[in-house]
Symmetry: C2
Amino acid sequence: MPISKRIAEASKGSSWIRKMFEEGRRLTELHGCDSVFDFSIGNPCVEPPAEFQQVLEELARDRTPGVHGYMPNAGYLETRRAVADCLSADQGIEVPADNVVMTSGAGGALNVIFKTILDTGQEVIVPAPYFMEYVSYVDNHGGVLKPVSSRADFDIDVDAIEKAMNAQTRAVLINSPNNPTGRVYPQETLEALGAMLRKKSREEGRIIFLVSDEPYRRIVYDGVRVPPVLASYENSIIANSYSKELSLAGERIGYVAAGPRVQDASVLMAGLIYANRILGFVNAPALMQRVVARLQGVTVDLNLYQRNRDVLYGGLSGAGFEVQKPEGAFYLFPKAPIDEDVAFAQELLEHLVLVVPGSGFGMPGYFRMAYCVDSKTADAAVPIFETLGKKYFS
Amino acid sequence: MPISKRIAEASKGSSWIRKMFEEGRRLTELHGCDSVFDFSIGNPCVEPPAEFQQVLEELARDRTPGVHGYMPNAGYLETRRAVADCLSADQGIEVPADNVVMTSGAGGALNVIFKTILDTGQEVIVPAPYFMEYVSYVDNHGGVLKPVSSRADFDIDVDAIEKAMNAQTRAVLINSPNNPTGRVYPQETLEALGAMLRKKSREEGRIIFLVSDEPYRRIVYDGVRVPPVLASYENSIIANSYSKELSLAGERIGYVAAGPRVQDASVLMAGLIYANRILGFVNAPALMQRVVARLQGVTVDLNLYQRNRDVLYGGLSGAGFEVQKPEGAFYLFPKAPIDEDVAFAQELLEHLVLVVPGSGFGMPGYFRMAYCVDSKTADAAVPIFETLGKKYFS
């Protein structure tokens, strides 16, 4: 066997998203691109904003010596300052540049965070449903991800999380706007969660972190604002990326930011910078660091995502599906009309509609639709769900 | 404690290179930039070649939809093909594009390799002296790095490696041209190593990999050619980057390539691609992947490095220091005139010369000088070593 037992085991059960992606390729080859309606992948389909293009071209011409060489492992101070300033305005609390480490996207950021804070066997609690990669991001560093069911409206169940805690609990991991539900956790929930974690940390005599994965922070609809986690709990660490807000998923640029009142900030930040180095990231890509420094607060055009959300939410609920209206991100998470979500995803495949079963997010009985697709694809799915609605709900 | 015990422990003893870097900054603030002679850091000081600048500017203007979005986790097929073609010519053996995975530099590549192949407690043998980050790259994934002394001329001691093997040995890790010695392992050594690993793999009934870290492959002098590892041993995996050959260390672009006759190639490659994803790299940075696809075989101007090597090698040996003439990379690894390499590095500091003690490479009694510095710095160091030579050797 050329690979480790762990990798063999983990990659086998691996990813529903990937399975659907491969099935989609097979169907596309068979039926042609225009006949397959692929809602399986969260790959931003809106192009980066015009400002990005302008800044990239300008910085590509920069021939200052060393501009593509190493910088400090935490990133360019200028970039960290720009991120900290934008974050301070956004979170309503002054975040120093020293509390920011530039990373290879949010996936890199989360690995850096868990490498830094976890000892072997420690647990990270996550509200279910959740992005399945979290299992690996925690397991990579000796930790164990522990899912706890959310409330029926997909808000965090703070009491259930408190009950799930034990001497091994090191962090709670949240994701808002949420993949796969599109839920934005309200201010009151974050404050209740913060109060509970503060109380528990004090009782246990150790820090329990709140890790907040926020790559969809600026992908929100109807004027929704994502409440600030740093203001709700002092021992919060944010993982973020420009993959969605600037449609730069392939460029791998994001950051870690710790709250300004985080305990032992200098030790924590030194640990994060060290982890960024030894995990082989070394530093976030240089050119993209300089690009995003100039694009703080800039966001892609959300019109297509909002339109698709409205069309599909309307279509699904009109057809009788039980579905929450997403406040952000670009996912819908409807209840399947039968308990077996995998069987229902298979049935959708017969209509050439690709979705990911809820089992791929730790929540069987549901399915996820990524609506970062062209408008034709969104429109074409509606009559198919109407047909299925008639079959199951009438 | 906000960080894990492992990180607290590891980062404490951390890096001599970093300590010297910080000491250098302190001295520079005190004495001014022109008075401090900093040989501590291997940050390429030659600018990227003109072709890089041209290709980067052209590709930055590319507005093809999706060009900054996700691509398959292994990288663009076009890039993997270009890398495979160049590698095939270089190694004299046909490497398929399927055996290449684009990564975030060689640091990323090595983490991806060790995550893929190591089970907990397995050992990776490395000839000493060695780049100290290897300890973390192996430990990150539950493995243990096991140093074995090299021969006096810094060539690999194949017999000593064979003796150090046991039931836990999973791989041998080599680095040629070598950091810190500048040694290029000769063809005969690679073949002897390959023969020994082939025999041992057969005896043990499992694959023992040869992992070859080759970021300095094109940084060679006097027409030296680095012999091809893929042709010497079938179960070889190369980690490489464009950090040195194109001076792009900050951009984090490199690759993993497995030999064309590697056992169970498809399982190994699937494992590497999976590890690249779950470690949070996801994929190598998109724009730089497209850039390096067009720059295969292009190398920075080596004149400054060659000149500095000649000046410093001449100066050190002329002053009586015992030192091997480097065949590649941009490091010298002379013997310290006293056993205590740390004390000698401290003495050099009094002359405002920064080097890294051999202890930082698992080989006390020596010191490393990185000669990727401007020519003035190299020239200025010579009289200082002459003075010290008189003190110690006459």
